[in-house]
Amino acid sequence: MAVTTSAALTDGLRAIVGAEHVREGGAPVDGTIPRWTAAPATTGEAAALVALAHDARLSVAPRGGGNALELGYPPARVDLVLDTGRLDAVLEYTPEDLTVTVQAGCTAGALAARLAPRRQILPLDPPGWATRSLGGIAATHASGPLRHRYGTMRDLLLGVRFAQADGVLTWGGAKVVKSVSGYDVPKLMVGALGTLGVLLELTLRLHPAPEHESTWLASFNTPAHAQECVAALLDSTVQPNRIELLDSRALAACNLPVSAAALVVSIGTVESAVRAEEGLVKALAQRAHGTIETMGASFWRTYDRALAAFEGVTLRIGTVPARLVETLGAVQAVLPGASVAGSAGLGALRVLIANADAGGLPGALEQLRAGVGEVDGAVIVERAPRSIRERLDPWGPVAAPALTVMRALKTEFDPRGVLNPGRFVGGL
């Protein structure tokens, strides 16, 4: 292979996106300053950047809002950062179809503003969602409280355009709400951390905004009573938007009345139904020995801000709703002082560790992972300083046969290791 000089590569990048949109260096990705940062204005330019990187054997790290750069192993290399900041257009919005096509750099907040006049929503609310790019939310499979009712990006991504590792622009899925034409390529891209393709355009399913919404705080003396209430809600005809569990420390962090554990439940539908459901929610909470109070509509903003502003180590625990008590207990046993919050009805919890003990964390993770192993769950380090992540496995174990398939996928679609190398499970 001919040796290509750095200057020649800079020229190549400039020729693609224009000199003013390329710079040497740039904001660090997980502590590593890239060799270049380039910001394409079109999907074509983005694909050309990837093609050039591929041919020059550079690595590519896509960057959206920069909110989730501490997810995964530290990168093996960061040569070219592909900044999607200029790919922020809403390409096609058809309110009558409840679908929208956006460029990957469009933030969830910008899209929400565009949808609001039509009273429609994209119900994805991971912490700090308003400034997060939709491509980033897809790549990291980030989720928030609304997941309880609407699912995650996996349920809302209908179609996706991406650049393969060699720059070939590729489309998967469809632009309509129902399609089984060919393989479900969008599912492959959600949560893949950009390791199989750089996401450039997303077609998304929207929902009508609830006409009316109310939120209640149910406080309990023990986590067991909170879990009892969750079980009762799930085994009822109540259809909440969110059932968020907060332990005592999470309650304190949100300036809420502190109890052993609390549920914040919201219901969104027509006003008459919200009022009718309120009675049911209260009865179920009281039957589980809870006390209940009505919260203002601003609670969810406060909660989002508290989670987004948290600067310590964050874990995502995937378990099941019948094991909330065990999970809270396990966290307190191995990470005293950590707080827990998350979707109780799904068993999707976040652990927030303010002053993480770097030395003890690998052992704590191992114990938590043993606990969720029985239900094939996971404990993923969503965020931690690089110095901590260098000493542990941020993803946790993946069973050998499935990991073999994942490796084969990476080898097939990115044999040179262009796309975010080293960051994903098994070091893919």
Binding site: T170, V176, D184, T237, G318, G377, A408, V425
Partner: protein
């Protein structure tokens, strides 16, 4: 191509003589699914009872380079469970167990041969149900639903099969058993569960499925609105969705279908209407009541001839009866038909319905419509007489024209039936070479030898062959290696 004696004896050793069908008349039963345009009997049919047996079958076939074709209940509509290259068909009809019910965690794990409705029957009394409800749900298997990513009338609100599959166990083309996904809400790694649903057996055979169960809604309300024309009914559909109401189901029948249904099961729908909409709302009672009033008002604003709301379960069942028996009722108006499954963006329904009338006139063929209007999923039955020379060809031509029109409006070639043999040739309408090539390579990861349900889902197209290189972006000259 007949199987070698060693493969036959190997299969018999694995499954016993009762587990292997070899006689011509026995195999004939397995020559097609419900789309009988594609008929090809396998060389052998095997009836395993466990994952271990399925794995042994796949390994044996792989060793001998024999194709493997999975089959559930055989109710598919795409030429999926048929064996154009011969080989071994694996029937899942003896793998029908519910392996685990875990209502506390809202899920169940089942074997692939379990009939869709049996799962709901097992949990309904306790207040739960399995949401995907293809019209075949009384006979189709959950494994088949997973293979085709099946839909159904209530997918408008609840989503299609993939939205309800939490985890899978499968024997893939490499002969390995992989377990992906599961009950828990988070998992590290690629979403193999998501990408495996809808693979039509081309990645391998699913041997266990963990599905989400939903709690039954507090209330259900069903309404029927009749309109003078399908275009007016289509406009009402768009207006309901645009008003922010997502009914549980929103189905349309046109005049040809109304006539057929009324002739077959008694007068359940008003005669003389150009179209009826069957609208079902479910959820909390107060929500259903409020939305039903609004839906009725929207239909009236859109010049509905009549709006009826079922007052009780008996009336509700009657309104659905016609919809559910529509496919059977068609026998009264035609000897044979082709069934289309394309989708248009729902806002384009009025346009495509006008186009359909034009195509029907152009070819002098009757189109009878019964379809999932709420998500734009068309199901015209293109009626023809197979005894008249050339009429099938005309029907096929009309079918192709309609499909092209749907794609031109931004639609998709299949909404819920799948691709199989029938629509593989149509995928290039919707996908560029690079997209097809990506799917071809995806398949090869799971099935490196090309033995898993060959000739299905992907077309024979240069982009779906070894060595094909999609075109790459043009780069400025002279800037790199």
């Amino acid at each position: 191509m007949a199987l070698s004696a060693s493969v036959v004896s190997g299969l018999q050793r694995l499954l016993g003589p009762a587990g292997v069908v070899l006689t011509p008349e026995g195999r004939l039963t397995y020559e097609s699914d419900m789309l009988t345009l594609y008929k090809a009997a396998p060389d052998a049919v095997v009836l395993p009872t466990s994952t271990d047996e399925v794995q042994a079958i796949v390994r044996l076939c792989r060793e001998a380079h024999v194709p493997v074709v999975p089959r559930g209940s055989g109710t598919g509509l795409i030429g999926g469970a048929t064996a154009p290259h011969g080989g071994v068909m694996v029937s899942m009809t003896r793998m029908t167990q519910i392996l685990e019910l875990d209502l506390a965690n809202r899920c169940a794990t089942v074997q692939p041969g379990l009939i869709n409705l049996w799962l709901t029957n097992a949990v309904r009394e306790r207040g739960w149900f399995f949401a995907p409800d293809p019209s075949s749900q009384m006979v189709s298997s959950i494994g088949g639903n997973v293979a085709t990513n099946a839909g159904g009338p209530h997918c408008l609100k609840y989503g299609i099969t993939t939205n309800h599959v939490l985890g899978l166990e499968a024997v893939i083309g490499t002969g390995d058993v992989v377990r992906v996904g599961g009950k828990a809400s988070e998992r590290a790694g690629y979403d193999l569960t998501g990408v495996m649903v809808g693979n039509e057996g081309t990645f391998g055979l699913v041997t266990a499925i963990t599905v989400r169960l939903l709690h039954l809604p507090e209330a259900v309300k069903t309404a029927l609105a009749s309109f003078a024309t399908v275009v007016e009914a289509s406009e009402a559909v768009s207006a309901i969705i645009a008003a922010g109401i997502i009914p549980a189901a929103l189905e349309m029948l046109d005049d040809a279908m109304i006539g057929a249904v009324n002739a077959a099961v008694g007068k359940v729908y008003p005669d003389g209407a150009g179209a009826v909409l069957l609208i079902e709302l479910d959820g909390p009672r107060a929500e259903v009541e409020a939305q039903a009033e609004r839906v009725a008002a929207i239909c009236r604003e859109r010049q509905a001839l009549m709006v009826t709301v079922a007052r009780d379960e008996t009336e509700r069942a009657l309104l659905w009866k016609g919809r559910k028996e529509a496919a059977g009722a068609v026998g009264r108006i035609t000897a044979a038909y082709l069934l289309q499954d394309a989708v248009v963006p729902r806002s384009r329904l009025p346009e495509i319905m006008r186009e359909m009338v034009a195509i029907s006139k152009r070819h002098n063929l009757l189109f009878a419509n019964v379809f999932h209007a709420g998500d734009g999923n068309l199901h015209p039955l293109i009626c023809y007489d197979d005894r008249k020379p050339g009429e099938l060809e005309r029907a096929q031509q009309a079918n192709e024209e309609l499909l092209h029109a749907c794609i031109a409006l931004g639609g998709t070639v299949s909404g819920e039936h799948g691709i199989g043999m029938d629509k593989a040739k149509n995928l290039p309408l919707q996908y560029a070479d690079a997209d097809l090539n990506f799917m071809f390579r995806l398949r090869r990861v799971f099935d490196p030898d090309g033995l898993m349900n060959p000739a299905k889902l992907l077309p024979s197209h240069p982009a779906c062959g070894e060595g094909f290189r999609p075109s790459r972006p043009t780069l400025p000259a002279g800037t790199w290696v």
